[in-house]
Structures are given as C-alpha cells and as structure tokens.
Symmetry: C2
Subunit: 344 residues, 2 copies
C-alpha cells in the first residue's frame, strides 16, 4: 500500500477500494455484528432493546472535527470524533447505536497518521459500545485542507417516555456537573503552542453514555443534560437558560478546576468557564432527586467528581449569574468572539 | 449580521448561535414537521409509513462534499450534498427521511455564499421530500480549508422484504441505465477550467428516490441499484461484478452519451465511462421484469432516457467487458489513478 494519501485514494476507483479494504474494514469490521457490505448505505435492523421500546423515537446528530493538532495529551481527533457524537446522542437521553465516519484528507497525509486515527476511533467505539457502520473518504489537493478532518454522524434510540432537552429546566432544579472543567481545551492548546505544562494536563475525552445510563436508572426527574464542549460551561448554561427561560445561579467555589488548568488559564488570560470539555456533562435535576443522581454519577468512572454547582431560579430569565468566592454576584455571559479556534 | 464568516462563527458562542438562528433555522425549519429544538441531537419519531413496515430496518449513510468550484452549471455543492445522500439511501431501496448537514467553513467565506448553498440544500430537500433535522458548523482559519466543505449523513427506512445490494446480481440479469452519462463531471470540470463548452453542459444532479420508488412498485425482482458517481459507470459496474461474483457485459452502442459530453471528453482525453454522474442509476433486474421496470423508469422525470445497456453473465466473474461499436470486445476495468479530483 502507498505510504502517503494520494488524490486517487478519493477517486472512487482502485485506490479508494484498497483504502477501504486495507484500512477501514480491518479496523471497523470487528466492532460490528454484521459484515460491512460496501453498499451505498448500511442497512441494519435495530438490536432487540431491553427494556423494549414501545414508542420508538430516533436520535440523530452530526459533528465535524477539525481539531489542531491531530494528536494531543489524552486523545486525538479519532476518539474525539467518536466520543463527541456518542455524547451528543447521550445528551438527549438516547442510547447510541450506530456511527458514520467521513474523512476529508489532504493529499500527502502519511498513511500511518490515518491508521492511527482509525485505530483510535475503533477503541473509542468499542468503549462506548457503538458500531461504525458506514463511511466516506474525500481527498483534496495539498493546501486544500489542513491534514485531516473527520465527520461523524450518530444514530440512537430514545427510551419510552423520556423527554430530556435544554428547554426543560425548571426553577428549583439543581445544576449538577460531572467533574473538573477546562482540561480538554488547555491540553489541546498546550500541544499546539508547545507550552511546557502541556504534558501535565490531559484531555478529558470520554464517552458519557454509560454515565448517562446510570443517571437515567437513578431518576425520572432529569430535565436537561448537556456536555459543555465549545464555548465551555458558561456558554452551555446560557443556552439552557435561554431555551428554558429560567435563570441559572452557580457558585464559583463549587466549580472544580484543576490547579494546573487554573494556572495555565491565568498565564494565557483565559477563563476556565469558557474552555472546552469533551468528557463532562451538566444536568438539571428536580431538587428531590439531586442526591440520588449524584450518588449514581459518582459510582461511574466519568462521574467520580460530580457535584452540585448551582440551581435554576425563576428570576433573571435567560441569564446566568455566578456567586463569586468573595461574596459578590456577576453575570456570566455566553462566549463572545473566539478564544480557542479548532479545539474540536 | 457579519458579511463574512469569522472564526467566532465556529466558537459555539454568540456568533455560532446567530448563524444558527439567522441562516440555518429560517431555511431548514419549514422543511420539518416539528420545530428545530437546538439540542445536541434531533429526536424524532418515525413517520407513519404506508404500507406499514413490520421488520423495521434502517439505512444509514454519509458523504462529505468538497466539489470545486462550489457553483457550476446545473447545480452547486448544496444540492449535490442533499441529492448525493438521498441517492445513497435510495440505492439500498430505502425511503430517505432525515438528513444531517455539517459545514467546515474557511474564515473569510462570504456569508452570501453560505446562504446560497443553504437555500440550494433546502430546495433539494424539498424536492426529495426529506427533512434536514440536525447540523454542525466548524470554522478554520484562512488557508486551513478551501472555502466550504459540507457533510451530509442520511437516515431512511427499508420496506419489509426488500434486499437490494451490490452483491445480489445474478447471471441473466439485465443491466438498466437511467439516462445519459458524464454530464456532472464535465459540467464541473468545464466551470473549474473556464472551458467554453461549460455553459452548454449541465450537471445531472437530481434526487433519485422518486425514480427508485416507481421501480420498486413495478417489480420485486430488482437485485441491485447503484448510482455511478465518482469513478463513473465503469467503476460502478466493476464493483457490482466483484461483489456479486458475476461477469458484466455491456454494449457500447447502447450507452447514451450526449454529443457535447463526447466532444469534451475527446478534447480532454477522458472516457465518459469513468466520468462522474449525480442523477443516474444502474439497476440489475431479473430478465422477465426488465421491460416492466424500464416502462416505470421512463414514466418518471429522472428516467425518461432509461435503457438496457447489458447483462450479467456467468463467465469472467468479477470482470466487466464491453462489446464495442466495431464488433470487438474489450475489458473495462475499474478507474485507476484520478482523472477528476474534487468532482463531488
């Protein structure tokens, strides 16, 4: 096989088929119950779901990934692309089932780089328990794209009776956060800029579907789930406040930030509230169920550091306010401008 | 609103939301039965299908589009992205339902260009009868990508009992082609290279789901459907010959090529058999049903020029041979190398 990507790998002809047969099929085949048939679309029956779903609803989502650099401490564009889409499905309460995978490659990309990304996708899919069932590859000339972009779309099923949405927060809901914020953004930025602390901060990339499953088993009163990726925790809370038309009040001292991340943010002039995460979620939960959900979260590997960081209120609808450590209150707005391009 | 795409349009923050609210929602909302909820994934029940489907199977596919230039005679990257994915679903016999839409934009792209693409996607989705239900936007710095790439993934349902696959061709099957070949590739190339005949040749981009529906209503003996896109008719027939382990024999004189396309190919040194199409399909049909399927095809707008171009045979398994106009036979191989990069 060629050791670099050529334009002909995107031609649809002989080299496209070689790429599929030698790189994609060997890595993705084992994930899947059926064999990869190489038709224009994958055809698949739904697995027999337990408990069975009477009012079948599908969840469908997509994200493209353009993170730079492709590899960083704690992850790479491959596991990011699988986990990101698994997590988007999880945030509407869906059980993720199938993932698609579409590459845009720059001519000249080392074949070994593509294979490393594909292996990482495979591992992440296995960890999440999803199947990569269909894909596509395009190649553009040198300079037409920056190395490798990947899109994943995801398909999941939503259990009977579930209704989880950013528009469902209610005054009184407790705001739960599953762990430390800012790790992903700072890990990627450190590697990109060659900063020294880059080796000490690792991205938090993780599939959150198992955590969400544990939460849904613990309570029927989870109103909102969302993962604070681009734009960070601050932007995510603002989105929920707007969609639900509630106020959100958070406590600065309750929000967990690692010392290294805090130090890096101070040095670089960033606010961790706006830095991207890829393995965290916020949940709005009815107050009576907050404790039981928190216990369920802490019993999972992704939720060990879960805590209550605030609550939804009936005032200041659509806005987020933070009680600061020194006792004041400040408005926390949505991200304006762009601090950290190509973070995912 | 800004008149150019900024990095901040991909930040997840304020400008990302403005883009969603002012560009995507207004154009895509009307396509959809429900409202766009702006959650991490779209949640949707399946429409009540007629006839009802007892053994529910889903079809799932994805393609990225990097065509250059973005606009050409007869189409653009937007309608290409919708029709391409609708067609991939149709080629396994699925009824296309939902489409996702993920942009990678280059900083500085005129907002008007994005809006023109979005309008074109909307029109194509309306023509095909599919809903665009979820999306994503990433922005990379100038030089990090070439203007605009878009990925669409698609979801459809496969009717009870249908089994259409490139591996189902049988010796004796007639090979049907829905119309003229080579239009798309030559239309794009002409515009890219500024060739004079560019204004006379239009891309054949079209959603093929209505054509396929008519064919499926006419016969239960359609074994294979495939649209000859990248790699052209020759590559598609080779794929089917390999997957099904049959020989394929086609007749040169039966294959329709417009005079302008033939002339352009001769001038440029291309063979129309390898040039991409975006609104054509080939079908392998049991011989007794070929006539009735052909009649059904000709009654639709996309299939008026449908004809039999060859047959599957038991010899030369995995190979395609063409009886030439002068009475000889030549082997028609899969595309090697890349004639026309970024054609879709």
């Amino acid at each position: 096989m060629e050791d670099k990507i050529l334009l002909a790998h995107g031609s649809g002809g002989r080299l496209s088929h070689e790429l599929i047969e030698k790189v994609f099929v060997p890595h993705f085949q084992g994930l899947n119950a059926g064999s990869l048939k190489l038709d224009d679309a994958a055809v698949t029956a739904l697995p027999s779901l337990k408990p069975p779903i009477s009012d079948l609803r599908l969840a469908f989502t997509t994200d493209s990934y353009v993170v730079k650099p492709l590899f960083f401490n704690g992850g790479d564009i491959g596991c990011l692309a699988v986990c990101g889409t698994v997590n988007d499905l999880s945030m509407v309460g869906a059980r993720p089932l199938y993932i698609s995978c579409a590459f845009v490659l720059e001519e000249g990309l080392p074949m070994a780089t593509l294979e490393q990304v594909v292996r990482s996708m495979r591992r992440a899919a296995a960890e999440a328990g999803v199947q990569i069932v269909t894909g596509d590859t395009k190649v553009v000339e040198q300079g037409g794209a920056d190395q490798l972009f990947v899109n994943t779309a995801g398909l999941g099923v939503v259990a009977s009776g579930l209704d989880i949405s950013g528009s469902n927060a209610k005054p009184g809901d407790k705001v739960l956060l599953s762990g430390y914020i800012g790790d992903h953004g700072i890990a990627v930025l450190s590697r990109r800029e060659g900063l020294e602390f880059g080796t000490r901060i690792a991205s938090d990339i993780a599939p959150l579907n198992h955590l969400v499953q544990a939460m849904l088993e613990a309570s029927k009163e989870i109103h909102v789930l969302r993962d604070p990726t681009r734009g960070g925790l601050a932007t995510t809370l603002n989105e929920i406040a707007r969609q639900s038309q509630v106020g959100v009040c958070i406590y600065e001292e309750a929000i967990p930030v690692r010392d290294e991340v805090q130090a890096a943010c101070e040095m670089l002039g960033y606010d961790p509230l706006y830095v991207a995460n890829e393995g965290k979620l916020v949940a709005f939960v009815a107050p009576d169920d907050a404790e039981v959900v928190l216990r369920a979260m802490r019993a999972t590997s992704s939720g060990q550091e879960a805590r209550v960081i605030g609550e939804a209120v009936g005032e200041r609808k659509g806005k987020v306010a933070m009680k600061t450590r020194v006792g004041g209150t400040r408005v926390v707005d949505m991200l304006t401008g762009e601090m950290l391009p190509r973070i995912c």
